[in-house]
Symmetry: C2
Subunit: 494 residues, 2 copies
């Protein structure tokens, strides 16, 4: 059943059913028709060559040729000059007997790079019913206070809520709350230096199009969450990954960077790093700030996990020690309260915030007023603080449970360290297993993984596990199952 | 009072007070210091030359020189090689006695163009208390059903609401509602062909980065709303504006376009056009569809005003007559229900929607779950339809009132036609008045205008008036005041 469900979800997961009474040739035809009908292969786009397709589907080339011939006869595909084959129509276009616009050319154009296929698969697989999401960087639904959030709206009449277009920097009352929220954390931010955004990801997107030219360089930890999204690369920027040691981003490497004026910026997840779980030490924070100040190198500090400490509060943020305006600071409600609110903020030098606010207005006219209002109420009412404390307790239980399971099932198969907060265990597998194979096999077994390669192409031995999403029950199921899978795959190889 | 408030809001609106006991030199100093302190002029940015500044402020050059000398002594600015003057520090930087990062270089970089100064001023001036907004393209706050929207959340427990990250295309139940909503309008859109976005503006932004390469051409009506936002130009695209006649976009001009494959797209506000209020006739729609089909030229149809007809329902959309998948269709809840929800949609060919959904995920991980939930409830419960009908009634009253005022106060000063729906009267002024001067004088008198130049650089004789935002009382005040202003300015010129 599950396999069947996955088959239709495209290229990546196709497996032909060799025991089926339907001839392979027809299965290949159905596969291609489906790719076209669902729009995975757009009109105007190039099909994989017959050779490649035959290899990928593990069938004879003649099977693929037969399927191509049939679809050519149906008018769906056609050979082109270069000897390749192109989608020239879709089933719907055939029905209408009219030439649709040449969307394929558009779908392939555009400046924004598509997500990695693995990430697209992850994005979609997250919505397969009953899948166990062992790597998801998100609170489990039962840790999101949906009812409490809905209840906020009960006393709306007393507060009033403006549902018009918002001010360029976002609702002033929310910015005031953010300012108050950051004060005890040592970050002095007047409301004019705060920009409300639709989550930390949008903060990064605005920075990428608003502050950096094509050809700029982002210096970052390697691995990093940032490798899994394309916001910067899609705007034509390069990554320059630096190694981490136990204290965090290695400062010596940083000071050796060749900085170009206005074209280099540092990005750091300084606290409960995604995906390694590491926390940068106070000493390291100070040296990095010093180096960056000397080099006049701006820093983006992505601090979305700060409030999720389990053992002890983390050292103060880089921003709190920044007296020169060097640091652009990013926060979000996603990891503590609800990603569905889509509320985050950027704090920084006034001129920078003004520029980013202008671009935000040009992109989407500001964030949802409902969400901004709910965020303000959560912060003002103390609900945020109370919930953060609850989530910390729950994360402790979940982390400990996962670590216990790992020491039972993985001590001979992997290495890891215990995270002191955040969501993640960065698991280094000992056997040599192709991450794509592992990912696919796990998925076929109902387990969705986040392989390390998503965060660093070289991290093929790693998995990012998350104790935030899957339930204790699901962990009980999935960790032993994963062990089995890995042992099998390792044996297959030998 | 009001003048004072505006003075500090920067460059654009500065007027020195010649009757003040504070010497002009000090006022110029204060002005520059303020520009730097608020971040309007960032560290690293170039000051206007002394000559330009003297002209702009209408003072002697020696006054500006004295101010520059003082600020140089304070360490805020410094001459540079080219003979120009640069901001080298801000007041806060001076206090901290440390060199801040060179943000100026970053603020001036970035691929996204800043908004036009006039639009930035409009965006900010909208939040000046008591200003009369005579051109705002937004429902008056009393036409937004804020309380009803808040009440939706009362019965949330029965429906459940998911506040996690959303599916790539947006909440399925909302997409189903959109699909049902569009059906009686003749648009067949299954939920997989619908992408939920944070307002129609975001739809345009996603199309600009997702479907079009730098150097592409957007063919559009001239004037157009699209000239007032930079989404396409910021991604390196050109506009090719075509004239309109009484039936809409002129089809002959369209068929003469030199189309480049995958690099040309048509954008049309076919119904209750912003800013002219025009409705494309059925016949014109058909010919445009035919021409575009023949040329295989895709169309973006921006249809956000469709439900706001006053006299009679408009002809069916281009999308409803499109049998070839040529049209990408954009809708939004902003103009009928609430812009603060930030909910809109794009409907189109599956491959195109898939691509745009992927980019949306990379930009902001989807729209606010609260807003999506509220939108779904509004549509499902019939509240949307009921409210649309109420808004239509109110708009009729407001439109008729404004037209009456115009015929009393402007029949000798301007020409216009009566819009049959939407928000706008496109007023052509007879006297020859500089639009910047008119804009500034009106603002100084507490009236915020949307000059025609914002929608077409050549439309310097036009104003976009809106009967949707200002109250009847405010119209009563502002229309005669505007007449007076225009008469005065016209006389001054003679
Ligand atoms: C380090 C980091 N930054 C940003 C984000 C995006 O968060 P948001 O939901 O606020 O956009 C994530 C979420 O995975 C993250 O791990
Ligand atoms: C023609 C047109 N398209 C799009 C928009 C943006 O609307 P939304 O609030 O849905 O982003 C507007 C609003 O002014 C508009 O007039």
């Amino acid at each position: 059943m599950k396999n069947n469900q996955l088959m239709i979800r495209g290229d990546y997961l196709l497996k032909l059913n060799r025991k089926s009474p339907i001839p392979l040739r027809r299965q290949v035809e159905a596969y291609i028709t489906n790719q076209i009908a669902t729009g995975e292969w757009a009109i105007g786009s190039q099909l994989p060559s017959q050779r490649v397709l035959a290899e990928r589907l593990r069938v004879n080339r003649s099977t693929v040729t037969a399927a191509f011939d049939e679809l050519t006869a149906q008018g769906l595909i056609a050979g082109n000059r270069g000897g390749g084959t192109q989608v020239i129509n879709n089933t719907w276009g055939l029905m209408a007997k009219q030439k649709p616009a040449d969307w394929g050319a558009y779908v392939e154009a555009g400046q924004f790079k598509p997500n990695l296929p693995m990430i697209r698969t992850i994005n979609q697989a997250e919505f397969i019913p009953d899948i166990i999401r062992l790597g998801t960087g998100e609170l489990s639904p039962d840790l999101i206070p949906s009812n409490d959030l809905a209840k906020l709206f009960l006393n709306v009449s007393t507060h009033g809520m403006s549902l018009g277009y918002s001010e360029p920097k976002g609702n002033l009352r929310l910015r005031e709350e953010v300012s108050k929220f950051l004060k005890p954390k040592g970050v002095a931010a007047d409301p004019e230096s705060v920009l409300i955004v639709s989550g930390a990801l949008q903060a990064l997107q605005l920075i990428s199009i608003g502050l950096l030219d094509r050809g700029s360089t982002i210096v970052l930890e390697k691995p990093s969450y940032l490798y899994s999204v394309h916001v910067f690369q899609s705007s034509g920027m390069r990554f320059y990954g630096l190694p981490m040691d136990s204290e965090g981003l290695m400062v010596d490497c940083l000071s050796q960077i060749n900085k170009e004026r206005g074209k280099t910026i540092v990005y750091s997840i300084s606290t409960f790093h995604n995906p390694t779980g590491k926390v940068m030490t106070s000493a390291r924070r100070k040296s990095i700030l010093n180096v960056c100040e000397r080099m006049r190198l701006p820093i983006i500090e992505d601090d979305v996990y700060r409030d999720l400490w389990i053992d002890a509060p983390p050292p103060p943020s880089l921003k709190s020690m920044d007296h020169s305006g060097n640091v652009l600071y990013i926060g979000s409600l996603s990891k503590v309260l609800s990603p569905g609110l889509r509320i985050g903020w950027i704090v920084g030098e006034r001129s920078v915030i003004n520029r980013l606010a202008d671009i935000k207005m040009q992109n989407d006219y500001g964030s949802s007023a409902l969400s901004q209002w709910a965020a303000e109420e959560c912060m003002r009412s103390g609900m945020y603080e109370a919930h953060a404390s609850y989530v910390r307790d729950q994360l402790r239980i979940r982390r400990d449970y996962m670590l216990d399971l790992l020491s039972v099932y993985f001590s001979d198969l992997a290495k890891w360290s215990s995270p002191s907060g955040g969501f993640y265990v960065w698991l280094k597998l000992i056997p040599d297993i192709d991450p794509n194979t592992l990912f696919e096999c796990a998925l076929a077994n109902g387990i969705l993984l986040n392989p390390g390669v998503v965060y660093d192409r070289a991290a093929s031995h790693y998995l990012r596990l998350s104790y935030a999403y899957a339930s204790i029950n699901e962990m009980d199921q999935a960790i032993p199952a994963l062990r089995k899978l890995i042992v099998n795959l390792a044996e297959e190889k030998v």
